[in-house]
C-alpha cells in the first residue's frame, strides 16, 4: 500500500491528504493532559493555589452577602438583635453600594494578578517542554493539537483550583457568619440557596480565568517549530 502511494503522481498525493485526516481524539487529549498535570504537580500547584485564592475571595464575598440578605429578611427578633450587635443590620444602600464597589475592585485586581501568574506559569511550562512540543509536531501534530493540549491542561487545574477555592471560600463565609449571628440562625435553606448561587459561578469563573490566561502561552507553544525537537543543548 505504501509502495503504491510512492508511485502516485503529486496531484494524487495531494488529493490523498484530504482535510480532516490528522486527528487527536478528545479522549486521548484528556488522557494526555491528565497525565501531564499529574506529573508536574509542583509546577501546577502554583496555578492551583492562585486560582483557589481568588475564587475563595470571590465566593466568600458572594456567600457573605447572600447570607446577610437572607438574615436581614428574617422576622426572628434574636437574629435581628445579633445582626444589630455585629453592626451588620444597617441597610443604608449608599454605604452598601460603596462597600460592594470596593469589594469589586479588590476582586478585579486579584483576578488580574492571578491571570498574570497563571500566564507566567504556563509560559514556563511551554519553554520547558520545547522539545516535547517539537517532537509532537514531528509526529504530525497540528498547531491546534498543541493549543488544545495546553488549554485543556490549564482548564483542568482551573476546575480543581476553583473547586477547592469555592469550598474554602464558602466555608469561611459560613463560619464567619455563624460566629457573628450564631450557627443556629442560619437555616439550611439559606445555606443551600447561597451555595447553589455561588458554586457554579465560582467554578465557571475560575475555569474561564485559567483558560483565558493560558491562551497566549498555548499559542506561543503552537508556533514552536518542529526543528526545536532536534535541539541538543540543555
Amino acid at each position: 500500500m505504501r509502495r503504491a502511494r510512492a508511485d502516485m503522481a503529486p496531484s494524487a498525493i495531494f488529493g490523498e491528504m484530504g482535510r480532516g485526516r490528522l486527528s487527536l481524539p478528545w479522549g486521548r487529549t484528556v488522557e494526555m493532559c491528565w497525565r501531564s498535570v499529574k506529573n508536574r504537580r509542583g509546577r501546577f500547584l502554583l496555578v492551583f493555589a492562585s486560582i483557589a485564592v481568588v475564587v475563595a475571595l470571590f465566593v466568600s464575598t458572594l456567600s457573605h452577602h447572600g447570607m446577610l440578605r437572607d438574615l436581614r429578611a428574617s422576622d426572628d427578633v434574636r437574629i435581628q438583635a445579633a445582626l444589630e450587635h455585629a453592626g451588620a443590620a444597617s441597610n443604608d444602600p449608599q454605604s452598601e453600594a460603596r462597600q460592594s464597589e470596593r469589594m469589586m475592585l479588590l476582586l478585579v485586581l486579584s483576578g488580574l494578578l492571578c491571570f498574570v501568574g497563571v500566564t507566567n506559569t504556563v509560559f514556563m511550562s511551554v519553554t520547558e517542554r520545547y522539545r516535547e512540543i517539537g517532537t509532537l509536531k514531528c509526529l504530525g501534530a497540528l498547531n491546534s493539537f498543541v493549543v488544545r493540549l495546553f488549554l485543556l491542561e490549564s482548564a483542568f487545574i482551573g476546575i480543581m483550583g476553583s473547586a477547592a477555592g469555592m469550598a474554602a471560600g464558602f466555608g469561611l463565609a459560613y463560619v464567619q457568619m455563624g460566629l457573628t449571628v450564631g450557627f443556629a440562625a442560619i437555616s439550611l435553606g439559606t445555606v443551600v440557596k447561597v451555595f447553589c448561587l455561588a458554586a457554579p459561578l465560582a467554578v465557571a469563573g475560575g475555569t474561564c480565568l485559567a483558560l483565558a490566561a493560558a491562551v497566549y502561552p498555548a499559542m506561543a507553544a503552537a508556533r514552536m517549530k518542529p526543528v526545536d525537537a532536534m535541539r541538543v543543548e540543555a
Binding site: A6, L22, S23, C138
Partner: protein, 252 residues
Amino acid sequence: MPEQAIVHTQDVRKTYLMGNEEVHALCGISATIHKGEYVSIMGPSGSGKSTFFNMIGGLDKPTSGEVYIDEVDISQLGIYELAWLRCRKIGYIFQTFNLIPVMNALENVSLPMVFAGLDSDQAREKAAGLLHKVGLGDRLTHRPVELSGGQQQRIAIARALANDPAIILADEPTGNLDLKTGQLIIELLLSLKEERGVTIITATHDHKMLAASDRVIWISDGRITRIQKREELDIRVGSIDEATSAPPSSSP
C-alpha cells in the same frame, strides 16, 4: 532495477539574515536519494549539514531551489500538508530520543498512529507489534525513565515506524549512546532497511554509521564536497578503523 528517487533537491539555497549580514548556510545543493537507500550526511558543525538535513525532513524550507519528497515539492505545501507529510511519510529519530516522558512505551509508539486517525485498539496492537520487532516486547508498559538509553532509542525507532513511513530521518541516533549500544541501534536500522525497504537518512559524526551506509554525502561550507559509495569507503577502511579506535566522543 531502475532506482527511484525518494528525496531530490535541486539547487537548494538557504540564506539567513544575521543582523545586517547575510549568512549562506547552503549554497546550491543538488542531490538525489533513492528509495531503500541508507545515506549518511557528514560534515562538521556549521557546515550546513543540519540545515540540509532539516530540509530533507520537511522541517525547514529553502530560500530558493526545490526539495522534493516523494515527488512532492515541499515548498508548495501548507501547514496542514507539512504536518501530514511528517506524520505519514517521515519517521524521525533524535539524538536525545525525545520520548514523551509521561507516556509508556506503547503509548509513545501509538501516538503517531492516533494522529493519523487509527482507532486506539488498532494502534495499540500495531504498536505492540513494532515494539516486539525492536526487541522490547516485554517492556510495553514501561515509562522512558525506567529504561536505558539504548532501549529508549529502540522505542523511538518503533515510533518512527508507526505509520509505515517511506523515509526515516535519524539525527545523530547514536550520539548519546555508548559504543556497543550504538552498534546495536545501527544494526537495527540496517535490518529495517533490508526488511521494509525504508529509506534511511542520517546526519552523523559516527564512523560506525558510515560503514553501514550505502552512500555518504559530505558537506562543508554549504556545499557537497563529495559523495562516496560504500565500495569507495571500503578502500579507506584502514583509516576508518583508525578513527573508530580514537575516543568515541571525538568529532571530526
